[in-house]
């Protein structure tokens, strides 16, 4: 018997540990990416009313119309998709909202606007939602205004 094979013929074993590690990392990575893609909620400094009489936003799917502050002007977005803040942009936003409501009429439309913005900068978003609702002819479209409950925010 050869000295090289003193313990019998050499066996090749695959080391499974790094493979399992990698598989877990990939699973977690895809969970993370799917979650972020699904929510598409950019950070907005929402209004914090004193003694808020709000209700919970719940965890059901929602359509977020964001109005973000950028210097002196506002940026409109539906989820992650941005729209120019002009006539054509407002029309495109209304069409996009209408398309989503048509697909799922139970979807609540949430207005997430920065508290430091002027009201006239938020108006195009409100008008686009109203236009979308009338385009679709939906009997009841649930529109919600997002805010932070200062008591809950302070507890975090």
């Amino acid at each position: 018997m050869s000295l090289l094979h003193a313990r019998g013929p050499a066996r090749i074993d695959a080391n499974m540990t790094p493979l399992i590690d990698l598989a877990f990392l990939l699973i977690v990575f895809f969970i993370l990416v799917a979650r972020m893609g699904g929510e598409q909620l950019p950070f907005v400094s929402l209004p914090e009313p004193h003694n808020a009489a709000t209700t919970s936003a719940g965890s059901q799917p929602r359509l977020a119309v964001n109005v973000l502050a950028s210097g002196d002007h506002a940026i409109l977005s539906l989820g992650a998709k941005k729209f120019p803040n002009d006539e054509s942009g407002h029309r495109a936003l209304a069409d996009a909202i209408a398309q989503r409501i048509r697909r799922d009429p139970t979807l609540p439309v949430d207005v997430r606007a920065d508290r430091s913005l002027r009201y006239d900068m938020i108006e195009p978003a409100l008008r686009a939602i109203a236009q979308a609702a009338s385009q679709v002819g939906a009997q009841r479209v649930t529109i919600r205004v997002c805010a932070l409950d200062e008591r809950q925010a302070n507890h975090e």
Partner: protein, 139 residues
């Protein structure tokens, strides 16, 4: 060391996954009026109770309640909520001018802040009204 680093990375990624990035968001319902054809077209529409908000000057924001026969000012949103609650008719009594379903319209000035518009909305909700909407800004 390798398995330990693997576990540490996995834990790190797990906590990144589970942490909530957004703060606890709450909502106000702002339903559009029903556009069905069941409503009586000859029915008289209630004149809305308007909350007229001015442009903020430092810590002060002018607040005015206006409707048929009502014209009041409030120094802040707490007092606005109290005034509106006093105007609301409670079930079984004849006190108050407006039902809780009476339309309330927030009319902010074009330059007023969204925070103030939401504060006005919040005051109306706290006062027990259910039919609240935003109007075109006052220029």
């Amino acid at each position: 060391m390798t398995p330990m680093i693997d576990v540490v990375f996995l834990l790190l990624v797990f906590f990144v996954c589970t942490v909530r990035f957004e703060r606890n968001e709450q909502v106000y319902r702002l339903d559009l009026p029903s556009r069905g054809n069941t409503a009586d077209p000859l029915a008289l529409q209630d004149a809305p109770l308007q909350i007229i908000l001015g442009i903020r000057d430092g810590n002060r924001c002018s607040i005015e309640l206006r409707s048929d026969g009502v014209r009041q000012t409030a120094a802040n949103f707490e007092l606005l909520a109290t005034a509106m609650e006093q105007l609301r008719r409670r079930s079984g009594t004849t006190d108050g001018l407006f039902e809780s379903s009476h339309p309330i319209l927030i009319v902010p000035a074009a330059g007023s802040q969204w925070q103030d518009a939401v504060d006005g909305f919040n005051a109306a909700v706290r006062a027990g009204y259910a039919n609240i909407g935003f109007a075109e800004s006052k220029r």
